[in-house]
């Protein structure tokens, strides 16, 4: 009956609208007027509303609306409090947090250290791929032990293996605190139907699977981070619809159909010089060239640093930027974006573009290039750059899932690959470990299969240090080692833009776009 009504309704309304639009001379209705609603888009539909199981980009984005984390990214650097007001790292294995005493769940339950501990226990105990990722990012590879003290308002986290990146890990959306009602009904939690599960500023008020989600601001919420530069009012309602086409996003933004839109291509330029729109930028992906050095794989780069350096010299990152990213990317000089804490930002450490020097080494070489599908301009640019240096290049461009699988598990099929590193987590150790330590086959994430004991030692030193300065120094040493050995060469950081129309704003904190900081400013 509902479907019949939809069809009949659409038919009638479309006919009426068509007739009316013939007489109309103004813009569609949505474009004007004060509002308490923000209409925004997701590229894909959220699949789960359980933050611990969030794995796709959309799941992660909406998790921030519904679930608060202990810490948040600082506005320009470091961390600020979320549900925690203070924190201390006694060592890389022992952390203590003071939990704010005024935070509540959507059903009024107080968020105590025990509530936080129970939520973490749930996350750490899940046999789920998404949860394992969050658990590793938050607590490392060891076993965490949570000791709440409700009287003192503190939570102690002890790790069986040192992990210095716990503070950064606890800013991540997947570690959002799930209230007791959600833990009591995990199926309902995933479906977003448990009213009391939410600890964040918004509750899910309506969702149509695969199509849209609507969030409503909690009346009783007052646990916003102490942002200094965030002005305006949070929306009472946030409508998120699924829309992946950048042209359509631009048209909708222009017509007022959405209030904010994310752009990865030249459509962002339509709003660049218009005072009626504001833009924030953030790193989305870091593109690197990875050299396969797996023993016995047949890769020409195994044990041949000169050849690796020549490939790096043959490619102009700015040319790659123009060909593959409409020139919207920004320069990158290490394993991930410059906005990352402890990321090197020194051009002298990477191979300078020198096609003549590259040609002397690459002439006559045969190189197997692996890249993901649907990115022909980038693949063509890389292949032609190497061909111009005298190399014979075969390009393999499988589907993204196969590309990932091939890089990790089939080193015998490629010599050099374009790797896309998520640039939104802010955790540089995850990017460094792509080039040092155990390979995927050994249970690690070293996709280049390098044997770099020096880099690995520096990485290990950073991961076991409780001192932030020491951590950074060691992480930088690991990056220097990787760059000196040319185990990879950075290409470009894919920089996305969030454009808001007049009356709306959004914010990027330390390179991280925060959906909960969208505001209505007029």
């Amino acid at each position: 009956m509902v479907r019949k009504r939809l069809i009949a309704g659409v038919a009638l309304a479309a006919a009426a609208s068509l007739a009316l639009s013939a007489c109309s001379t103004g813009e569609p209705e949505a474009a004007a007027g004060p509002t308490d609603t923000i209409n925004a888009e997701l590229w894909y539909a959220p699949a789960t509303f359980d933050p611990a199981k969030a794995s796709a980009d959309a799941d992660v984005t909406v998790a921030r609306l519904g679930f608060d984390t202990l810490l948040r990214q600082g506005e320009s650097d470091g961390y600020i409090g979320g549900l925690a007001t203070a924190w201390e790292a006694t060592s890389a294995s022992d952390y203590t947090f003071t939990i704010r005493d005024d935070a509540t769940c959507a059903d009024g339950t107080a968020i105590t250290p025990t509530v936080v501990a129970n939520s973490f226990e749930y996350l750490a105990g899940l046999e789920d791929s998404g949860a394992l990722t969050w658990k590793n990012q938050a607590f490392g590879s060891g076993t965490p032990t949570f000791t709440p003290d409700d009287a003192a308002g503190t939570l102690n986290i002890a790790l069986s293996a040192p992990y210095s990146q716990l503070l950064g890990g606890l800013t991540r959306e997947g570690t959002g605190i799930i209230c007791p009602a959600g833990l009591a009904d995990t199926e309902g939690l995933a479906a977003g139907t448990v009213d009391g599960a939410w600890s964040g500023p918004y509750v899910l008020s309506e969702t149509v699977a695969g199509v849209s989600a609507q969030y409503a601001l909690r009346d009783d919420y007052d646990a916003w981070p102490e942002w200094e530069d965030v002005a305006g009012e949070p929306a009472a309602t946030i409508n998120l619809t699924v829309q992946a086409d950048s042209n359509t996003s631009a048209n909708l933004l222009e017509s007022g159909g959405v209030d904010l839109a994310r752009f990865y291509d030249a459509n962002a330029d339509r709003f660049a010089d218009d005072a009626a729109y504001s833009t924030v930028t953030f790193a989305s992906s870091a593109y690197n060239l990875v050299f396969n050095q797996a023993a016995g794989s047949g890769s020409i780069f195994e044990g041949n640093q000169e050849l690796r350096a020549a490939v790096a010299q043959a490619i102009d990152p700015e040319g790659f930027n123009a060909a593959g990213l409409d020139g919207l990317g920004v320069a990158q000089y290490t394993v991930n974006a410059a906005s990352y804490s402890c990321a090197l930002d020194d051009p002298s450490l990477v191979q300078a573009y020198d096609p003549e020097a590259a040609a002397k080494v690459l002439d006559g070489q045969t190189i197997r290039l692996l890249i993901m599908s649907n990115w022909d301009p980038a693949a063509d640019y890389l292949a032609e750059s190497l061909r111009a240096a005298g190399a014979t290049v075969t390009v393999s461009a499988p589907d993204p899932a196969d590309w990932t699988k091939q890089m990790r598990t089939q080193p015998e099929t490629w010599d050099v690959a374009v790797a896309a590193e998520n640039a939104e987590s802010g955790l540089i150790h995850a990017s460094i470990s792509r080039y040092v330590g155990p390979t995927y086959a050994e249970g690690g994430t070293n996709v280049a299969s390098t044997d770099n004991p020096e880099g690995w030692a520096a990485y290990e030193a950073a991961m076991t240090s409780a001192d932030p300065e020491e951590q950074c120094a060691s992480f930088e040493a690991a990056q220097e080692s990787i760059l000196e050995r040319v185990d990879m060469t950075p290409l470009i950081t894919d920089t996305h833009r969030y454009v808001a129309r007049e009356g709306f704003e959004s914010h990027v904190f330390t390179g991280y776009w925060d959906i909960s900081a969208m505001r209505i400013v007029s």
Binding site: V2, V10, S17, T48, T133, Q137, S212, Q214, A401
Partner: protein, 348 residues
């Protein structure tokens, strides 16, 4: 209807034996029974084929579902955990058996991504797709028949050749333009340039207003195609003896065209409508992308391109195939009612 059919039946020539009775009620009933039995068996066998094909085609889609679902940061152990949880580590025949056993009970399995019955996701999006396609088919049939008839009548007997030529050129051009190109052009004209209609679906707009451009995009090409065919059929029918006789009797215009010509045109138009609707379902999936319309298109694209969500792909393809098969059957039944000769059996 039967009068029209009898009128259309070929007249016996001079000296030919006279048929004892053109159509007898009993023999017509037998023809219907045979027709329905034949078509229902065909529908059943097509459904079986559809189920098997939907299972097999997803295996050809490049990409590993477990890798896609596990995410980019997953280790190999996490990928294997997902593979086991999804049942993708089972042998091919076991997976096929589980799939068939589920389909028999109307269960296409749980979506890999959404962890809920795939058919729920498909049926949530389906009404949005049907809303624009069914309205488009109705519109294009009505408009196409009206336009084709009008031009056919106006150009009868080589009159108004300029109109005939212009009509043929314009409709030929429009019907040759792909739907997504028309859709993009409409967005530019009505949304970006004139700013009188929304460029795409958004909660900020009334759903009816947002549906105007998708429906227009789907309708206009089909209208031109139908109009061209109807115009040709009209010319042929107008030259037939019964129409000449009707004109000779100076029947009123409405009686002449609505009562005597239209039923004969409907046979062609209805046959076309089944084909057009099936094609429109395909076009709609692409058009939905242009207009961010929350129908099956977006669901299928995400399931294929991003998630490798086999249950959703299977469910969506099955539903689209089922709609196509059922509509074809319904149209054949209606055609049989209008013109029993289409039942496909000799009745002496």
């Amino acid at each position: 209807m039967s009068t029209t059919t009898a009128t259309n039946s070929p007249s016996p020539g001079p000296g030919a034996p006279v048929s004892p009775g053109t159509i007898k009620a009993a023999s017509l009933g037998g023809a219907w029974r045979a027709f329905l039995l034949r078509r229902l068996l065909g529908l059943a066998s097509n459904l079986v084929l559809l189920v098997l094909v939907t299972f097999l085609i997803v295996q050809l889609i490049p990409g590993d579902p477990a890798t896609a679902i596990a995410g980019e940061n997953a280790t190999l152990a996490q990928v294997e955990l997902v593979r086991t949880q999804l049942g993708l580590d089972q042998p091919f025949l076991v997976q096929l058996w589980q799939y068939l056993a589920g389909v028999v009970q109307g269960d296409f399995g749980d979506s890999y991504r959404y962890q809920q019955p795939a058919m729920n996701i498909v049926l949530t999006a389906l009404p949005y797709t049907l809303a624009i396609t069914l309205v488009s088919v109705l519109l294009l049939l009505v408009l196409g028949i009206a336009l084709g008839m009008t031009v056919g009548v106006a150009t009868r007997g080589d009159r108004r050749r300029w109109l005939d030529l212009s009509f043929t050129m314009v409709t030929g051009f429009i019907s040759s333009v792909p739907t997504y190109v028309l859709a993009t052009a409409f967005v530019f004209v009505f949304a970006v340039f004139l700013k009188v209609l929304p460029p795409a679906y958004s909660p900020a707009y009334d759903i009816g207003t947002a549906a105007v451009l998708p429906i227009l995009s789907l309708t206009i090409g089909g209208t031109c195609s139908v109009a061209r065919i109807v115009r040709r059929e009209t010319s042929v029918i107008l030259e037939q003896d019964y129409m000449r006789t009707a004109r000779g009797w100076r029947l009123p215009t409405m009686t002449l065209y609505a009562k005597h010509m239209l039923p004969n045109l409907l046979t062609t138009a209805l046959t076309l409508s089944g084909i057009i609707l099936t094609a429109l379902l395909g076009s709609a999936l692409i058009t939905e992308a242009v207009f961010a319309w929350p129908g099956l298109g977006g669901v299928i694209v995400q399931a294929i391109a991003i998630d490798k969500d086999y249950p959703i792909i299977r469910g969506a393809v099955f539903v689209i195939g089922l709609i196509s098969l059922v509509l074809t059957l319904v149209i054949d039944v209606i055609l049989g009612l209008i013109d029993p000769r289409t039942l496909g059996e000799k009745r002496d």
